[in-house]
Chain length 371, copies 2
């Protein structure tokens, strides 16, 4: 399994790493940004267009998919890749984060999490074992351990208790994963410990003792702010094995990703480029544009004159402004596509910059330009 | 002008005609179906995908475009083709039909039509002269004369009065069109006369006396039913010049189009394939599918096993069912794309059938299969 998911670091620049994570469904160039395909679709995008934007891998949400259309149903239909026509790698989250964000509808015990569906109020139970089973039914290439995302803010005591539960669940996730016949998937463990370095260290050590194909940094981007997140990222990646990919979950804005890469993180996912695209926010090298703004009504420029994407090659800000004003689907479609290109262009630029030893300068330039 | 819009009939089969309408922006193979791009977009489709489906020409709605983003604005942005990235021919309606469907908000006089915008209640006035000006500002390739679409049902007297107003407006449309510098556009006149053969004849004669590059059959598909429409189409196309294209406005279902082609009509437009796509209705050779139906939840078949479209090549009914159930944009996007392919496949099949002298059999087979 580890062989199928060989991770090679080609170059480093400070703590930033240029690498490749090989998978049975193709290589993932790192640092990598994973577009989010919550319900078996990157909203408003055909999969071939997501691929053309430069994505090597998508993220699918276990919580949403287990409720609709259902993991067993996806399995009967040939798995998630075939279902959504994405033949490249897919990473699935464990469902834990989204289940626990349901608030009052959730009951956490040692065994797992009981919750009510946000769709129809039906009762469900997810344990580490069931989460792994669901992810294997979906056909995920990179399976995530089931964990509790510690609430922010958390006292040291609460963070420790939560982290230790996640570590017991990590061990159960690993056992469940290994019990299933190998189908060429990897399992990533998730470090917790909130903003406490000692807990992060303990979590990392317990995960490494279990052994995973990759390691995620969880419990960040939950409201602590960029400065507090970067303070954790100043040490947390170094607590994880250097020969395995490191994945910062749910991050983030371009500046967050750039800062995290400079601190040694290899993989990211975030709804920001897609969600922003649906609400008329376009990322550009010159800052974020709100396309509903009247100042774009006769702006014949593309979204970003330096962007090589098909949207910038064909359409003006004035046209996109019109589409959003008229409530036309094509507005979200095109702005999402551009935003995904923007993110992937940033990742590609970062990878080149790391290879050339100028990652910090690249990050500074990109952020100063307005992101 | 007539030279630039040369219409050649390559073959006939009964009254059905196989032809080509040449335009400065490329040829239109007839019988032709024109997808509707109301607000400068075929809803949910990128223009390149509309083209790939087989469309030679799009329809734009003058009423919607004059209100938003505004004809002068589109002109300042380089015209509708550039604005929406559709370099192929565009036909614009005159705005009359949609203005008059506003009901109480409309006041018709000899001079033109006063109405209030459905968007913001603002007052507007459209005359034949203003309609032609708007269509030329948009950069339309095929401009439609401004007419009154006679309400259904209409008495002979009311239909005559309405038709005669439309004929006076047709003459004013032609004058206004010729006064504008030639920019390689054609003007089509519109026959009215409701369900009365004598009025249809008078209308045709008056239009021919004015002289147009093409002729539309208006005032049908307004609630009279297929049988009454076909009764008019049994004679109306023959009242129009044989050497010019004949366009049946706002039609229709596949069976309507097939029946009209057999009666000598060359061009069609309708929102049906796009609107149906957004409401989970898929046209297939085996009948129309309602993709929300639970029976498709685990149906691994494509929408139509005989369809060569990219959607049928990649996605199952089960996936499309899931997308509609989950409220995902990709459901309308993909179903619209398939439906446009379905319509264009029908037109392509019809053209081949006319060339081979089996148009009636083709139409019978297509309709019997469930459309």
């Amino acid at each position: 399994m580890a062989e199928a998911f060989r991770f090679t670091v080609h170059a480093t620049d400070g703590r930033a790493r240029l690498g490749t994570l090989e998978t049975p469904r193709g290589p993932i160039q790192t640092p990598a940004f994973m577009p989010v395909g919550t319900a078996a679709t990157v909203k408003g995008m055909k999969p071939a267009d997501v691929r053309a934007a430069g994505a090597d891998i998508l993220l699918g949400n276990t919580y949403h998919l287990m409720l609709r259309p259902g993991a067993e149903r996806v399995a009967r239909l040939g798995g998630l890749h075939r279902f959504m026509d994405w033949p490249h790698p897919i990473l699935t989250d464990s469902g834990g984060f989204q289940v626990m964000s349901l608030g009052d509808l959730v009951k956490v015990s040692e065994e797992g999490v009981e919750f009510r569906s946000h769709l129809d109020g039906s009762r469900h139970f997810v344990s580490p074992e069931r989460s792994i089973e669901i992810q294997r039914l979906l056909g995920s290439d990179i399976v995530m351990a089931f964990d509790e995302c510690t609430k922010h803010p958390a006292s040291h005591e609460a963070a420790a208790r939560s982290m230790q539960l996640s570590m017991r669940w990590a061990a159960r996730s690993r056992d469940a994963f290994l019990r299933r016949e190998g189908q060429g998937a990897a399992l990533f463990g998730i470090q917790q410990g909130a903003l406490f370095a000692d807990l992060r260290r303990e979590s990392a050590e317990r995960l490494v003792a279990i052994g995973f194909e990759g390691y995620a940094i969880g419990g960040l981007a939950v409201g602590e702010g960029q400065q507090a997140m970067f303070e954790v990222l100043d040490y947390a990646p170094g607590q994880l094995p250097a020969d395995r990919p490191r994945y910062l979950m749910g991050v983030g804005k371009p500046a967050d990703i750039l800062g995290a890469v400079l601190r040694g993180v290899d993989m990211f996912d975030c709804v920001l480029p897609t969600r922003s695209g649906r609400t008329a926010q376009a990322f550009t090298r010159g800052g974020t544009l709100n396309l509903r703004n009247a100042r774009f009504a006769e702006d014949a420029e593309p979204l970003d004159p330096r962007c090589p994407c098909p949207v910038c090659a064909r359409f003006s800000r004035a046209y996109l402004h019109h589409l959003f004003r008229a409530g036309e689907m094509l507005g979200p479609m095109l702005t999402t596509e551009h935003n995904l290109w923007h993110y992937q262009q940033m990742m590609q630029g970062l990878r080149l910059a790391i290879a050339e030893g100028r990652a910090a300068a690249f990050a500074r330039d990109w952020v100063q330009a307005g992101d």
